[in-house]
Symmetry: C2
């Protein structure tokens, strides 16, 4: 049955068409200016059709954010091969992550501050039990474990989470206050943060 497959493919193409138009609007005008009618106008369809491919606007946005999120997570994995020293590896991971987030501030904010269960499923950090989806915490925990003087086992995940939330806080402030601070200051903050947070690990050595 090739027809069913074609139909499915066409359906997927239509979803992509909608998502791509949405992505374009978000990129150029920002998430707040995104509207169903604007998407419809851009793809020369009636607004109603979008509801045949997405449950509602939130569903559409969720779908868009999922792909953006993978870009950010990718920046973590790429740092894993940079060096063999676990401490330096962690530093490189955090550094890559920060840089990537600052390169796509709108998307980062939208994703990481999103409260919808669909997105939280991927972005939650504090939740217990290492879900396979929470890649960031998983990678961080792994690095922490490889550290020469390792963290106590029961504090491993908790510490990874603390490092993550601390870094998250810095990133959000850097984005929000980006017009108030110079590049030089920004660099100072990042470097100090990395040193402060990464070296703070020592206080939990066994």
């Amino acid at each position: 049955m090739g027809i069913k497959e074609r139909k499915e493919r066409e359906r997927e193409e239509m979803r992509d068409l909608i998502l791509h138009a949405a992505s374009e609007i978000i990129r150029t005008e920002g998430l707040t200016k995104l509207s169903i009618r604007k998407i419809a106008l851009k793809i020369d369809y009636s607004p109603a059709i979008i509801y045949h491919y997405f449950r509602d606007k939130d569903d559409l946005i969720s779908e868009h954010m999922k792909t953006s999120y993978q870009k950010i997570i990718g920046s973590l994995a790429s740092a894993l091969v940079s060096t063999s020293d676990p401490h330096q590896k962690m530093r490189a991971m955090a550094r890559n992550y920060i840089d990537m987030a600052l390169q796509m501030p709108d998307e980062y904010m939208s994703i990481m501050l999103n409260q919808s269960p669909q997105i939280l499923e991927h972005t939650s950090v504090l939740m217990e039990g290492a879900s396979s989806k929470r890649q960031a915490i998983g990678l961080l925990s792994k690095c922490l474990k490889e550290t020469p003087s390792p963290i106590k086992d029961d504090l491993l995940e908790l510490t990874a989470q603390a490092i993550w939330t601390a870094t998250f806080g810095l990133i959000i402030r850097l984005i929000i206050e980006k017009d108030l601070i110079s590049d030089e200051q920004k660099e100072k903050h990042i470097e100090h943060h990395l040193r402060y947070v990464m070296d703070g690990v020592d206080s939990f050595k066994q």
Copy 2:
């Protein structure tokens, strides 16, 4: 001229009436559910009247946030008298601040994630030069200076800022993921964070 004063007083009362209604709606239904028409309905006036007292909805929200912000900052100052030990003082400050933020999650998010210059003037943290308005960083720096083995002077403000952004990150995640984590877990995260961030100070002793 008592008439002018009375007029001004009445005007202020009307502003308060509107702000109070708005506050009530935000508290019970959340910021997203706040609408001009809903405020008008609550105070038995027509929606248009609100535009005689506030430029637009953003102006109204800004005004509300200003007072909410003072509540949060107040929670810092109240911790200053709790103990004489600088380290414990800092801990108490952070703890008070976190609890206060979690008691008004919507307000905290709205204020601290706000990008409008009007509000950033009060909430900016990373900006250089200790503006008298950035009370949080000022108080933190002061505590850090009193620490038995003090931080190097040139790193004082930078460290206060790092502690602040780290705490900020934890709070935002706790708010966003509040439906995913139990109170017990929440407590664990806060306690670990305080220990991790506050004791990390040691690595910068002179």
